[in-house]
Every structure is written in C-alpha cells, then in structure tokens.
C-alpha cells in the first residue's frame, strides 16, 4: 500500500500546471464563452501534447491508458485552470468507443492526439446523465446513446446558455449514423458515465482548490477596519472548513481512481462536487461585492462549481449509488 502519488505522477501534475499557467487560461475561457473556439482549440492541442487525452486511450489505439490516477492528476489541473471545452466528454467518449472495436479504430487515435474534440450525450434515462451535449458546436463529433444504440448526432439544436457561459449546452438532434448497437453499447455507456463522473470529480476538486487559493490570497491583503480581513476568526474558520471539505474529497478521488468501482466514483463525485460548491460560496462571500462581478477572473471558477456538482451525477444520485453498493460486513474484506 502506497497511497501517495509517485514522483513521476506528481511531476506530471506540476508540468501541466506550469503549462496551463503560462497559457493564460482566463483569456481562453472568456473567448470560449463568447463562441470563439480558436484559443481553446489551440490550448486543447497543447493539453493533448502533454499526453492528457492519451491517458484515456488504450495502447492499441495509440494511447497509454487507461491510467485513472494520472487522469485524476490531470483533470485536477484542468479544473484548477478552468480549462474550457468538453474535456470530460472527450475522455469519456474514449471509454465508450474503446469498448466497441468497430468504431474505436476510427476515433480513439484522433482523441489521443487531440485532433478530435468529442462531445457526448448518454442515455437520458440514466439518472447520471443530462440532456445536453456540452460544447457540441466546438466538437468534431457528437456521440449519443439511446437504449442500446450508439449514433453520431446529425447536428444540434440552438445554444442553451448555462450559468457558466463557458459551458455551452446543446441538445443533439435525433437520429444520425448508427455506429453500433446491442447490449455492449449499454455496458460501454455505463462505463463511460462512470468515467465522466470520475473526471468531473477531479475537475471539481481542482476548481475548489483554486477558489480557496484565490480567496486566501485575497483575504490576506484586503484591509477593512485597519486589518486584513483574513485575521478575523469568522473568515479563518470559513476558510478552514473549505480546506477540510477539499482535503477529505481528495482521498476519495484517488481511492476511486484505484478501484474504479461505481460506488467509489459516486462517493468521490458527490464529495468533490459539494466541496467545490462550498469553496465557491466561501469565495464569493469573502470577496464581497468584487467577487460578484463577471470581470474578476474569480467568476470563471465561481460559475463552474455548481454545474460541475450536478453534471454526470447529482449529489442525490451519487448518494443513492454509494448505498446501492454497500453490503454491510463486506467492505472491510481485503
């Protein structure tokens, strides 16, 4: 047992962090939200070059994965830098299509290389899946699953604005080319939904960590009543609670990376999602009015926290799944 990132994993995270910091993601996010996908696609290529999408793709299809621990490391960084685009959906699409050899060959190498941006709408009947394909207008393909049919959507409806304008929602049109069908589609879709929930948990944790970081820095320098507001005990305790929530979400995330069990993923999803939302509420309150403005970059993270909390598994759906799998007396077995 060594429940600790090894040196290589930690360094991978730091490298990604440096690359994304240098890329100036806030400008990319604002462009993306305005419908200008150019800077986002350029960033996407660099993220692919750093090897992120290859982590979700098996070696047989030019990837190096699946490597859930490394994926968690990477998606925490994507969240920490508020990277826009269907990063979760593309990796989940790799999981989905990777189970279906007939279509894997066409799409997975392109996903690994960053050439293909893919969005996804899984079966709406699944409590963990929503009705939209995120950023469908920027995607090279929109994959849909209904029942046991997997299709390439023939297009999408109008933009449905999200509370986070960098999340551009579209309903895929019905029909389209049938890529695969049968029970294997259903099984693959369930795995893809789990993968999406897992990566969203990682992204949430990153969002929460960055919100906390920015808020701590702000409260150290913001003066009121002649003292930094970070010296007030009410401020301290609220920040301490936020750190607590995040630091106890982290082990659940990496525990889920190691087990890949649906219940463990659900536990990580609800905990990271709630922690990030807690961080957002804290960040807004402690920034005061300035935090309530779109122009402060903080808003790019603030607005992401709640949609991520509910995407790919609401807190209620996740909690139900945690207990579905809980067979008393068995969870301690080796």
């Amino acid at each position: 047992m060594r429940f600790l990132l090894d040196a290589e994993q930690a360094e991978f995270g730091r490298t990604l962090d440096r690359m994304l910091a240098a890329a100036g993601t806030p400008g990319v996010v604002r462009a993306w939200a305005a419908g200008d996908h150019g800077p986002g696609r350029a960033l996407w290529s660099r993220i692919a070059e750093a090897g992120v999408f290859a982590l979700a793709v098996p070696e047989a299809y030019d990837g190096v994965g699946p490597l859930p621990v490394e994926l968690a490391v990477a998606y925490v960084e994507l969240g920490r830098h508020a990277v826009p685009g269907p990063v979760v959906e593309t990796a989940a699409a790799a999981t989905l299509l990777g189970e279906l050899p007939s279509v894997a060959k066409e799409w997975l190498p392109r996903i690994a290389s960053g050439e293909a941006v893919v969005s996804l709408r899984l079966d709406e009947a699944d409590a963990f899946c929503g009705p939209y394909a995120l950023d469908a207008d920027a995607a090279d393909a929109v994959i849909t699953v209904s029942g046991d049919e997997l299709r390439l959507a023939p297009g999408h409806g109008p933009l449905q604005a999200s509370a986070d304008p960098a999340r551009r929602l579209f309903r895929p049109l019905d029909g389209g080319e049938l890529l695969a069908s049968g029970p294997a589609v259903r099984e693959a879709a369930a795995q893809a939904a789990d993968r999406a929930a897992f990566l969203t948990a990682a992204q949430s944790l990153g969002v929460g960590l960055e919100l906390l970081h920015r808020t701590v820095e702000y409260t150290k320098q913001r003066m009121q009543f002649g003292t930094p507001i970070g010296s007030f005990q009410a401020v301290k305790h609220r920040l301490a609670d936020t750190l607590l929530a995040l630091e106890f979400a982290r082990p659940l995330l990496f525990g889920a990376a190691l087990s890949t069990a649906p219940a463990d993923i659900a536990a990580a999803k609800v905990t990271a999602g709630e922690a990030a939302y807690t961080a957002a509420r804290t960040a807004l309150q402690l920034h005061g009015a300035i935090g309530y403005t779109e122009e402060l970059d903080l808003s790019l993270w603030l607005r992401k926290a709640r949609p991520l909390r509910d995407a790919w598994g609401t807190p209620g759906a996740c909690r139900a799944r945690v207990l579905d799998a809980q067979v008393p007396g068995l969870q301690h077995a080796p």
């Binding site: 929503g130 009705p131 939209y132 449905q160 604005a161 999200s162 509370a163 986070d164 304008p165 999340r167 929602l169 003066m223 009121q224 009543f225 003292t227 007030f232 009410a234 401020v235 807004l284 309150q285 005061g288 009015a289 309530y292 403005t293 779109e294 122009e295 808003s299 603030l302 607005r303 709640r306 949609p307 509910d310 995407a311 609401t314 807190p315 209620g316």
Partner: protein, 395 residues
C-alpha cells in the same frame, strides 16, 4: 394577541388583489437588469402610480394611500402572490424616501417624492467606494464648497441600478481630517447625467449590469440637493436604517410567493417520497411563514410605539440566507437542468447570492447580534456605535 384582519383590511386586500389581477402583465417583462427590461419596469411603475398602488404607505399628497404597515404588508403579499414585476424604483422608495421624510425639507419632499414614486426618476445608490466596503466610515469621495452648492469628486462603486438610472444619492466627505472618520460627511443627491459624471456599468455573475462604478469629477450639486445639514450625513443616513421602513428591504410577501412557487414545482417534479427534497421544501414553506410572522410582530411593535434596533440584523441574516437556501432547493429540484441560465430560478439564484454581502455583510450582522442583542464583549469592530452600524446601510 391576534392575526385577524379587520373588515377594512379585508376590503383593502380585495381591492389590491382585484387591481393586480386586472393589471399584472401576463408575460413577465424582461429582466430589469437589461436596458429593455429597465424601460418596461419603469412603465410598470407609472401604471402602479397612476392608480395609487406604487407607494401605498405614503401620504396621499405624494401619491400614496396613507395606509399603515399592516396594510402595506397585505399589499406586498398580494403583489408577489400575483406574480407582479420586481420594483425598479426600490432604491428611491425604500432607501431615499425614508430619509427625505425624516430629514428633507418640505420643498425637497414635494419636488422629489412624486417622481420617485412614479418611476419618472429612478435612483441609484452611491454609498460604497473601492476601499470602503464594510468599513463605510472610511469614505474618501469629496464634496467641496462652491457658489450655491458643492463640487463632488471621487469614485463610488457597487452602485446598484446605476447602469440605467437617472439620479443617485450618497455620502461625501465635506470636512476632511475630522478626528472621527464618520464626522464631516454630507448626504447628497446628484444627477447621473450631469457634467463630470462617468458611469461604468459592472456586470454581475450572470453578465447583467446590475451595478456600476461612478467616476465624479467636479460634479456640481446645488444646495437644494443636500439633505439635512452639511457634515451631518452619517447621522442622517443611519437614523433611518432601524425605523419601520427599514423593514421593507425584503418584504415577506416576496418569500411567501417564492415558497408557493417552489411547492408547485416540487409537486410537479418530485415525488413526496423524496424526503430529502421534501424536507428542504418544507423548510422553505415554514421559513417564509416564520419571516412573515416575525415581520408581523415587528409591525405590531411599531404600532405599539416601540422601535426596532439591532433586531434588524436578525432580519437581514435570516432573509438573505433563507433566500439562497430556497433557490438552491429549487435548482436541486431541476437537477442537471438547473444550470440553464434562462431557467425559472437562475436569475433569482444569482440575485440571492448577493444577499449575505450587501446591506452589511452577514459577518458584521452576526457581530452586531452578538454584541448588541446578547451583550457579548466588543471585538475588533471599531467601538463607535455609528461605525458598527456601517454594516446596516442598505447598498
């Protein structure tokens, strides 16, 4: 002790309901944080005013009906139950007018109150400054004496409604270097279109320009637009925060109607067996009732000649945190659809998030509750009573 309505009150309620049923637009106007919506809301204010429903508690000479607080509460209940539009004139009616009633001259009252009530003049607030958030006594914007009036200079921010409003009111430092920072401030009204005023709208989290920065460069204000004595602005601003009109910041009718809407949504989308959501919906219902009754108790205290002091901090913390919880519950009822920004509840949710921040942060309100109502030892807030009330300026 009773909650009964008199026959007269019942008649008043019926009249209000009837008028609202006949006049509330079937389609809600566009958001009042947009230019188009602002104009639509302004027109609605004129409609209300024409039939004396804009300011029912004001004297008849200024367009009101001269009714008491109980009838005002009844009107507010009916107003929100009818789904009537938000009040774009709220700054003027709820924040400026009480000060004018208490400290304005007869001339000011006659000149300013009617157009304020009719929507002809929409008011913005000009309290905060970049370095003076909760610590309002540290204001630095200046009012310098000139012939027949004052020249205003400096910067104001978080000026709500200022993107589209006509005029603004706020405090300016007219006597620099007083030993106590809350002395030497003057309460001033000014035109947002006057020479020297630059308005830079600020977009809130949902992108709507709900407030603005104001840059003031030698803006002339005639003496007639100073309220009360120069240098006495702080006392004047503070004196009305605890009075009965201070209650109007969030009327209970608004939350009763919101809880009602939540119950409808819950019945439509969730099973009663989903007890996790059921419990939160129930909390919204009983919270609205608690807030309504708490306000009734305060209204009764006013009627009995008592006054409300730091208790208004209980009010502020309750409604602001209630409002967020209600909207979070609504969004959770919607599940992943909750993130859709033009949905039923998103604008209300974004609006609610500001509640614990403005009008005195809830951190400061809790300090006030602990120190004033429970008598705990003073903490880090400055000791001057005026200063610790800084948090109470609605903004």
């Amino acid at each position: 002790m009773d909650l009964d309505e008199s026959a007269e009150e019942q008649v008043f309620r019926a009249q209000a309901r009837q008028w609202l049923r006949a006049h509330v637009p079937a389609e809600p106007p566009a958001s009042l944080e947009t230019e188009e919506g602002f104009a639509e809301h302004r027109a609605w204010e004129a409609r209300l005013y024409a039939d004396r429903w804009s300011v029912v508690s004001w004297p008849k000479e200024y367009g009101g009906r001269g009714v008491d607080l109980v009838k005002w509460l009844i009107f507010e209940e009916e107003y929100y139950a009818a789904g009537a539009p938000g009040r774009v004139s709220q700054n003027g009616i709820s924040l400026l007018a009480p000060t004018l009633f208490d400290h304005g001259s007869r001339e000011q009252q006659a000149r300013i109150l009617p157009p304020t009530a009719s929507g002809e003049v929409i008011w913005a607030q000009a309290w905060s400054e970049p370095e003076a958030g909760s610590d309002l006594a540290s204001l630095t914007s200046r009012a310098v004496r000139t012939d027949g009036g004052w020249l205003l200079s400096g910067q104001k921010t978080w000026s709500s409604r200022a993107a589209f409003a006509d005029r603004a009111f706020g405090l300016f430092r007219s006597e620099p270097g007083t030993p106590k920072p809350h002395h030497g401030l003057t309460y001033v009204m000014f035109d947002l279109h006057a020479p020297g005023v630059t308005v830079r709208p600020i977009a809130r989290l949902d992108g709507k320009p709900a407030f603005a920065e104001l840059f003031l460069d030698d803006v002339f204000v005639p003496d007639e637009d100073v309220i009360g004595e120069p240098g006495e602005g702080w006392r004047i601003a503070m004196s009305t925060t605890g009075n009965e009109r201070g209650l109007t910041l969030r009327s209970p009718g608004r939350f009763l109607a919101a809880a009602d809407r939540l119950v409808r949504r819950w019945r439509a989308t969730a099973g009663p067996s989903d007890t996790a959501l059921r419990d939160r919906v129930a909390d919204a219902v009983l919270g609205a009732r608690a807030y309504h009754l708490f306000t009734c108790a305060n209204a009764s205290r006013f009627a009995a000649g008592e006054s409300i002091g730091a208790e208004s901090s209980l009010n502020k913390v309750f409604w602001s945190e209630y409002d967020i919880a209600l909207h979070e519950t609504a969004l959770d009822l919607l599940g992943p659809e909750g993130e859709v920004s033009d949905g039923d509840w998103q604008e209300g949710y974004v609006f609610s998030l500001a509640g614990p921040i403005y009008a005195g942060t809830n951190e400061i309100q809790r300090d006030i509750i602990a120190e004033r109502l429970l008598g705990l030892p003073k903490g880090r807030l400055p000791q001057d009573p005026g200063l610790t009330r800084a948090g109470r300026i609605p903004g």
